[in-house]
Symmetry: C2
């Protein structure tokens, strides 16, 4: 279940992707312009969300083949849902729109460094950026690497009062989340029957 997944595409299947990727991989300025364009849209969403009173000033855009799939903002206040951060909302909406669980060959642009919940959601959505690594007689070996581009650092949000746990995700720490949480693994039988669930059900569901 690695974040890296290899795809083998025959002929034209990945041609469009290959061409568009090659185009900007050869040109640092073009990559930067492209990133700037989608990031600017995510920032626009952040302002829009506040204007609409939907939630805090955070936006996220999911992109596939240089086209915006969805452009969303924080909906926490509108939906009375603490999980409705911009990135989580964008992932949910993109999956709904594309009717797929995985957002393979998509990228995500976020106006701010993602919090641990959003960072986890990005990982789970398996957002990937496809690029050609090798071509052997019409068979493209394409590697998928997850790609996240963000604007503001967590500290900019924390400075105006947002939860400092935002800073946990990219720093790879669980410091703020664990500081005030009582975490208890069940004793004895509880733990045993909970772990048995996996062995007893493993043939009965599609793994995602």
């Amino acid at each position: 279940m690695s974040g890296y997944v290899s795809y083998i595409g025959v002929g034209h299947r990945f041609r469009k992707n290959k061409e568009s990727m090659s185009e900007f991989m050869d040109n640092g300025d073009a990559v930067q312009d492209r990133d700037h364009k989608f990031l600017t849209q995510a920032i626009g969403e952040a302002y829009k969300g506040v204007e609409c009173k939907d939630g805090g000033p955070f936006g996220a855009v999911v992109v596939r083949n240089d086209e915006v799939v969805v452009s969303c903002h924080n909906m926490v206040l509108r939906n009375t849902d603490p999980t409705a951060h911009a990135e989580v909302t964008a992932i949910r909406e993109a999956c709904k729109k594309l009717n797929q669980i995985e957002l393979s060959d998509c990228e995500i642009y976020a106006s701010c460094e993602p919090c641990p919940m959003c960072f986890g959601a990005i990982h789970l959505s398996r957002i990937k950026w496809l690029y050609e690594t090798e071509m052997v007689t019409c068979v493209y070996f394409v590697m998928g690497k997850q790609r996240l581009v963000y604007g503001a650092k967590a500290e900019a949000a924390i400075a105006i009062g947002f939860d400092d746990f935002i800073a946990d995700a990219l720093r790879g720490t669980g410091f703020y989340q664990k500081a005030n949480l009582e975490i208890k693994q069940a004793d004895g039988t509880g733990a045993v029957i909970a772990e048995q669930v996996f062995e007893k059900t493993k043939e009965k569901f599609t793994l995602y």
Copy 2:
């Protein structure tokens, strides 16, 4: 924005909570029985979710004042939504049912150690377990501490093929999530305009 929040309640406001908490805080067996009861319900949800083909074998229960608010399971496959883990679903549903963003004075029981996304969602929901710390002439000082009780360790899920990033959360690491992710902070202007969002909007929204 700490997970610890102090409440000052006058007279009967926290009496029910105080009494029920005192009752089982004086008795380790009672706490264990109570935890076992709610954890067993979360485990039952895990089986139910697989039977219904809604998703993987994970369940979560939100409890308030010894009563179940919601009892949910993983809905990833049913909803085509990689964010619809049991804990996230339970938090969303509990907020909807109680019509509040914060799940103050609630606890969460999860059949398995939560993944980083769910762990983040638990933190954001500010699930707390209220207990009396002091009583001064009819004024109760009640402290809220986030509380999570889980059953299986992440390794039990990973052993049947689930994403090893589950293990990142409680260990306080970002190891698996970061291993294959290209993370890029925007250059120059992009970062500047993204950080300006916070200063420009800080008076215009309710912080959550």
